[in-house]
């Protein structure tokens, strides 16, 4: 029987920070389990930077200002006590990362450089060129190696074992061998990232962002908080969803439709392409819905035209963007416009965390941090530069919280985890032996299509009802799915099968949360309820899963300092 005091699931910024902090107690046996090799984690894709009010570039900046900006950006749905804790502790985290060897870009005084970002009233985003997440991820991996954290690379979490609201352990598969193992643990940190893949290709997320930890918590009885809040980025590359930086519009790029028209004049005549992200995203979708886009259905797109900037300016200011467009869309921006479409970017909602200082969930011993968790500091809309900050800071406190849990909790019951592992073994055997049924890829594609069309940037009750029915049908189809690979060893078809199950489970929660939030707030834009409604909806959604039944509850938002006001920029 595999036994650890603390198991961290996920090896991105949050997971490795948690593993690092848990492992600071040398009496504890700590493992970090990840379905991929640690440095492949999606934290590495974060480019822009990490917010902390260091005041290096603007001496008037302060954690208080960062606090206010974040609350306002969240459309007042964030819990203000948590946001205050977050912004107050961020400067210390940046110094700590510096001490771990993160290669930050520097200012002329040798201090960490900072730059302005959307929604921030001072330039407070620390960065390392355009590879901030990448270098932080690698530095944390190095620190974990130094601290002798035990890595279980390419191990896949199948489920958490919770009985009578008590955490006992978990079940995971060693992907390389195909063996399924029960684990006993005193505490676990779930840090498995977001689940933007409910939209499959229409996301900036990595291929494996399937919310495995979030689904495992949800299935184990921990509620999801605010799953309906999904952030979209206006300029994803059309065929892959890969992010194309906002710098394109910043440098003067045009958005044009099939008729060659700069359509932003219809939606934001003054700001044009420099209108806020949510507005630009909605405008692009309106053009496509009106039949003025190129292509059909999920493949539809508009164009971003940079040709008028000229070769010299493109080469000087946007060389990497040009490279991305060439590599991934086969287009040279100097000669041709590039097809783009909004792309799902970030999940504001996630595992309900009930204590922001320990990242504890309602089930003792289970902690959660990073995009998979909802603390909540992002509320209805996350500010750029706050996500990498979120992962390292709350990863740290989750590690400390789990360490404390492990010190006071005994090991759970072997029989329970063994029983759960047996269940998965037989499921794996069944799926390997199955030779016919519904193709997994078809289920996945149908899910993505219905989520994008009906629970995407625009939402309307009638359409979301259709989406809900379709997801229910797909959950039913899923029971009849087959994977087409009988092998034991490195069976990614089976891994994908479990991932799609997780996505379907979570997609249903997104739809339910969205249908029941009859207002527009932050990223959640309801065509049938265009106004924010504080009277009825200044509250967090909580969705519980009891067997196959989903139950909705609500939780008040913690407001300490900033009473809600109309959000204007």
């Amino acid at each position: 029987m595999l036994k650890y005091d603390v198991i961290v699931v996920g090896a991105g910024g949050a997971g490795m920070m948690a593993a690092l902090y848990a492992s600071k107690d040398k009496n504890l046996r700590v493992a970090c389990l990840s379905k991929i090799f640690p440095t492949r984690s999606h934290t590495g894709a974060a480019q822009g930077g990490i917010n902390a009010a260091m005041g290096y570039r603007d001496a008037t900046d302060s954690p208080e200002k960062h606090f206010r900006d974040t609350v306002k950006g969240s459309d007042f749905l964030a819990d203000q006590d948590a946001v205050e804790f977050f912004t107050a502790n961020m400067p210390a985290i940046i110094s700590e990362l510096d001490y771990y060897g993160v290669p930050f870009s520097r200012d002329p005084n040798g201090r960490i450089a900072q730059r302005p970002f959307g929604g921030a009233s001072s330039p407070r985003t620390c960065y390392s060129a355009d590879k901030t997440g990448h270098v932080i991820l690698h530095a944390l991996y190095e620190q974990c190696l130094k601290n002798n954290v035990e890595f279980l690379d390419e191990w896949f979490l199948l489920s958490l074992v919770v009985a009578d609201e008590t955490f006992h352990g978990l079940v995971a598969m060693n992907i390389k061998t195909g063996e399924i193992h029960p684990f006993l643990a005193k505490a676990v940190v779930i840090a498995t990232g977001g689940f933007g893949r409910i939209y499959w290709n229409r996301t900036t997320n990595a291929i494996n962002m399937t919310g495995d930890g979030t689904a495992a918590c949800f299935n184990a009885g921990i509620p999801l908080k605010d799953p309906e809040f999904v952030q979209f980025h206006p300029t994803g590359l059309a065929s892959t969803g890969i992010l194309l930086s906002e710098a394109c519009r910043g440098e003067g790029g045009y958005l044009i439709n099939r008729e060659g028209e700069r359509f932003m004049k219809r939606y934001a005549p003054e700001k044009m392409e420099l209108a806020p992200r949510d507005l630009v995203s909605r405008s692009i979708e309106m053009e496509i819905k009106a039949g003025r886009g190129f292509g059909q259905g999920l493949e539809a797109y508009v164009l971003m035209d940079l040709r008028h900037l000229g070769k010299e300016k493109i080469m000087e200011r946007l060389p990497q963007v040009r490279e991305l467009a060439m590599d991934f869309e086969g287009v040279d921006l100097i000669d041709e416009p590039v097809p783009i479409r909004p792309s799902c970017h970030y999940m504001m909602g996630g595992i309900h965390v009930s204590d922001y200082t320990t990242l504890a969930t309602p089930v003792e011993g289970i902690h959660a941090a990073g995009e998979c968790a909802c603390v909540s500091i992002h509320g209805a809309n996350r500010l750029g530069g706050n996500s990498v900050a979120d992962v390292v800071l709350f990863g740290k406190y989750a590690g400390i919280g789990a360490r404390e849990s492990a010190r006071k909790r005994p090991f759970g019951l072997e029989t329970l985890v063994i029983k759960e592992a047996k269940k998965w073994e037989s499921k794996f055997a069944t799926m390997r032996n199955k030779t016919s049924g519904i193709r997994l890829v078809d289920i996945r594609n149908k899910m993505a299509e219905v989520m994008w069309n009906y629970v995407g940037i625009f939402r309307h009750e009638q359409e979301m009802r259709v989406a809900l029915e379709t997801i229910d049908q797909l959950l039913n189809d899923y029971e009849h799915a087959y994977i087409g690979d009988p092998a034991l060893r490195y069976n990614t078809a089976f891994v994908h099968y479990v991932e799609i199950g997780n996505l379907l489970t979570l997609a249903k929660a997104v739809v339910l949360g969205a249908i029941n939030r009859k207002e527009s707030r932050g990223s959640h834009a309801r065509a049938d309820y265009p106004q924010r409604d504080d009277e009825n909806f200044l509250k967090h959604t909580l969705i519980y899963k009891r067997g196959d039944r989903y139950e909705l509850k609500y939780l008040p938002v913690k407001i300490t300092k900033y009473p809600p006001e109309e959000r204007k920029y």
């Binding site: 001490y99 060897g101 060893r489």
Partner: protein, 318 residues
């Protein structure tokens, strides 16, 4: 061209075979697109790894027609044009243990990486509470080496790893050692450099494959040259590699050319040379490669050569 043929080396843990798939040609697609399409639509048993899809996570290194590429950012059009064929042969990265199909095992590489202490050994000038001061110039020194995404392409292409019995370090491990050795915040560069020296640093054969194939254009051979120089400054001048370098240095300074006769003696010492090199030297003489009877004479432009030496020495002093 209507179709592209993909011949993929398969492996299931026991057996190896080659399987052929065909996809209709589409303009502007990548290697990863093809692999994904094959898995989704033709054969779900095919295995490979990928994650971010935009060249930052390093998951999808793979060999096509004998050369390693990052699958997500390499266009099929480019490959078809370069190799002038519609048949592409896929294999897992070289110099790795294969798990299944195109999936390789990273675990042993990371165990090996620990040798060079791949973490910052912080100097006393900084603290966990305050961090460090580092100038823009000092940051610039670590900027390119910290671009490394651990995709393993350099290791797959490395000429020395291909023939080595396991002692030589993967180029990305050497890069990691360099990265900390030149970081102004690190207190003990020698602790990163010495293990590289002890693991056959001088065996790099300058094939330049790591540099030319690196998707992040990291100048790995320049880093190796730097590390070698540093080991000599550390007083490590009596090993084979350093002696070989000195022999080059002195020969060229003295005559403007190498003395093939004395080079092995200077590199390996008289005893080893007599013991191991005599038959080799004999073969060289027979083939006319060296002439033991010719006494070296300085080349015509030797003054110019020595001027270059002088200039370099002055520059490295300033």
């Amino acid at each position: 061209m209507e179709n592209i043929t993909f011949r993929i080396r398969r492996y299931d843990g026991t057996n190896t075979w080659v399987q052929e798939y065909r996809l209709p040609y589409e303009k502007g697609k990548t290697i990863l697109w093809a692999l994904t399409k094959i898995k989704d639509e033709i054969d779900p048993t095919l295995n490979f790894t990928s994650a971010c899809r935009h060249a930052i996570c390093g998951s999808c290194g793979v060999k096509v027609n004998g050369h390693a590429f990052l699958a997500c950012k390499t266009s099929l059009d480019k490959l078809l044009e370069t190799f002038d064929t519609s048949v592409l042969y896929f294999e897992p990265l070289g110099n790795y243990d294969v798990v299944r199909d195109l999936v390789v095992d990273w675990k042993p590489k990371m165990e090996k990486m620990k040798k060079i202490k791949p973490w910052l050994l912080p100097s006393r000038e900084g603290s966990i509470e305050e961090g460090f001061r580092q100038s823009k110039q000092q940051f610039a020194k670590i900027s390119s080496s910290t671009d490394c995404i651990l995709c393993g392409i350099c290791a797959s292409e490395c000429g020395q790893l291909a023939i080595n019995d396991g002692g030589y370090l993967e180029p990305f491990i050497i890069n990691k050692a360099y990265r900390f050795a030149v970081d102004s915040r690190d207190n003990a560069p020698e602790e990163h450099i010495r293990p590289v020296l002890e693991n056959e640093l001088w065996k790099c054969i300058h094939c330049m494959q790591c540099v030319s194939k690196c998707p992040k254009e990291i100048p790995l051979t320049d880093e190796i040259a730097y590390l070698r120089k540093e080991t000599m400054k550390m007083g490590e001048v009596h090993n084979q590699g350093a002696r070989h370098a000195y022999a080059f240095y002195h020969d060229v300074k003295k005559w403007g050319r190498l003395n093939e006769m004395t080079l092995p003696i200077k590199t390996d010492g008289m005893v080893t040379t007599l013991r191991k090199r005599i038959p080799f030297a004999y073969r060289m003489i027979v083939k006319g490669k060296i002439n033991p009877l010719r006494l070296p004479k300085a080349v015509k432009g030797i003054k110019g050569v020595r001027k270059i030496y002088q200039q370099v020495e002055e520059e490295s002093k300033s």
